[in-house]
């Protein structure tokens, strides 16, 4: 019996549909990329992580000591034990915690200059995870963003360019799939971050009313530049608040098309530099901008390029 046209059509179409998905997925994740951009990200992330480790060193007793701001025995109250491991848990002396942070600092510097890049990135990741899992009372968005970029730096050939490694291993500077996966992971993770950050804001009345930005401006503990003159410009506060909200909520959709990507990235520069300069969270602002750099250059790594 001859199959009905509809039956035949749907079966073949379904198969084609799955094949299209696989083709798009493969193009998105497995088309080789030039490692230059990832190498630039490596330099910035390594430097920021080194700075973060240096600051951890400034209050070792408080952050990781036995009588710290949060004792090791109480860490479970803020994170999920036993899975949130840390090499600081067994450290019983100040010398031990300082040594471990120093190892983390050296690994970060090594990552930044691209010396034994992959092992350095692994140790830097271990040091990062150990610090944030031991001192969850002292972490904030800056730490979250650093974490986004460390795993991809291990996966990709982040030491292929602009590094000490590249002097000895020239072969790894060729376009490769590991680098694409690394950049894609940063891009997708950033989309997840903005999506949930935007959705979280949608729960708050002040974001809908367009007054949320005032809450940040009037908070003296964040303030490094006084913007309270905005009290005389309520419509500007509305515009800035709603602009930020719309940008965050739509980021994960509008960052991909070539036409809107430059606008979305320009807004990222405005928002994150603004937060950095006016709220004293420069490290957080810079870390967010570095993560956003994964979407550069504007004409690369888009699905359209591959399907063209």
């Amino acid at each position: 019996m001859k199959p009905e046209y509809g039956e035949n059509f749907s079966g073949r179409e379904s198969l084609n549909w799955f094949a299209s998905w696989w083709t798009a997925w493969t193009a998105f994740w497995f088309t080789p990329s030039n490692p230059f951009l990832l190498s630039v990200l490596r330099i910035f992330v390594g430097s920021l992580l080194a700075w973060s480790n240096f600051v951890w060193l400034l209050d070792q007793e408080g952050f990781f000591g036995l009588s710290g701001w949060q004792s090791a025995g109480n860490v479970w109250r803020l994170n999920d034990q036993p899975w949130h491991w840390s090499w600081y848990f067994p450290a019983q002396t100040l010398l031990a915690t300082k040594s471990l942070t120093a190892v983390s600092l050296l690994a970060s510097i090594s990552l930044s200059v691209g010396l034994l890049t992959r092992p350095a990135a692994c140790i830097a990741l271990a040091g990062y995870v150990s610090a944030v899992n031991r001192a969850p009372l002292n972490t904030f968005g800056f730490d979250d963003v650093l974490g986004i970029m460390l795993v991809p730096l291990i996966i990709g050939t982040a030491g292929a360019r602009l590094s000490v490694d590249s002097i000895f291993w020239k072969k790894q500077s060729a376009p490769n799939t590991e680098t694409t996966i690394a950049l894609r992971l940063i891009q997708v993770h950033l989309c997840i971050l903005y999506f949930f950050s935007g959705c979280g804001k949608l729960l708050g009345a002040s974001w809908w009313e367009g007054t949320a930005l005032w809450g940040a401006v009037a908070n003296i503990q964040y303030r490094t530049i006084d913007l309270t003159f905005l009290a005389w410009h309520p419509l500007l506060i509305n515009a800035l608040t709603l602009g930020t909200l719309f940008w965050e909520v739509s980021y994960s959709a509008l960052i991909w098309p070539r036409l809107t990507r430059p606008l979305v990235l320009a807004m990222a520069v405005f928002v994150h530099l603004g937060i950095g300069l006016t709220m004293g969270m420069m490290e957080f602002g810079i870390a967010m901008l570095i993560a956003n750099m994964a979407f550069l250059p504007l004409d690369l790594n888009t699905l359209q390029t591959h399907t063209d």
């Binding site: 994740w29 497995f30 408080g62 701001w69 994170n79 899975w83 072969k171 996966i181 804001k201 908070n219």
Partner: protein, 202 residues
């Protein structure tokens, strides 16, 4: 065929991965994507039970790589800032006082922010002083262990005998109040007094 030859002959472009490797890598990528997308879906509240159920098998991976972030920056509303004010009697009988964070001494700014997170995270656990007694009593179980740790840290650092902690919620004026030069009082919540114990020096 021609493309394959080009890829083989051209040393500047590495050959693509074989199908089996791409399938294996795809599974790893999907696993990682779930591990980064599920934590913000599962918390902080409000969050669905479903997200929490699906997250369960991912807890080892999420914990091991510290991926459990909620990403709710300044959400749902940017609220007032908090500090912890402390007064202490030292072992030598002197009075000391301080504040966490301290804009004067906590420098560089990243150190200030790391310490600023202490009152901010504790404030999320402490109900306002006018909340019903039952709620305040129950909440004590959540925040008191943190207050004890902070007290222990301060007593150890300054060789203290007894320390008293207060959570200060800084008044956040609205635009009208600021324009009229009006303001409100900071909200003070006592976090208790703590004496030096043997544990403090361990």
């Amino acid at each position: 065929m021609i493309k394959e030859q080009q890829a083989t002959e051209n040393p500047t472009v590495r050959r693509g991965w074989p199908l089996a490797v791409r399938l294996f890598a795809s599974a790893g990528i999907l696993l990682y994507l779930l591990a980064i997308a599920l934590p913000p879906l599962a918390g902080p509240p409000p969050a669905s039970e479903l997200a929490n159920v699906i997250l369960q098998p991912f807890r080892p991976l999420v914990g091991a790589m510290s991926l459990s972030h909620g990403y709710r920056f300044f959400a749902p509303n940017p609220g007032p800032g908090h500090s912890i004010r402390w007064t202490m009697v030292t072992a030598g009988g002197y009075d000391l006082k301080g504040i966490i964070p301290d804009t004067e001494t906590d420098w560089p700014r990243l150190l200030y922010h790391r310490r600023f997170m202490i009152p901010e995270k504790i404030a999320a656990l402490v109900p306002p002083p006018l909340a019903p007694a039952e709620i305040r009593r129950e909440a004590t179980r959540d925040w008191q262990p943190f207050a004890e740790d902070i007290a222990t840290h301060l007593l150890t650092k300054h060789n203290g005998q007894e320390v008293t902690l207060e959570l200060v919620e800084h008044y956040l004026p609205d635009t009208f109040e600021l324009k009229e030069g009006r303001g409100g009082d900071d909200l003070i919540t006592p976090l208790g007094s703590y004496a030096w114990r043997k544990k403090a020096s361990q």
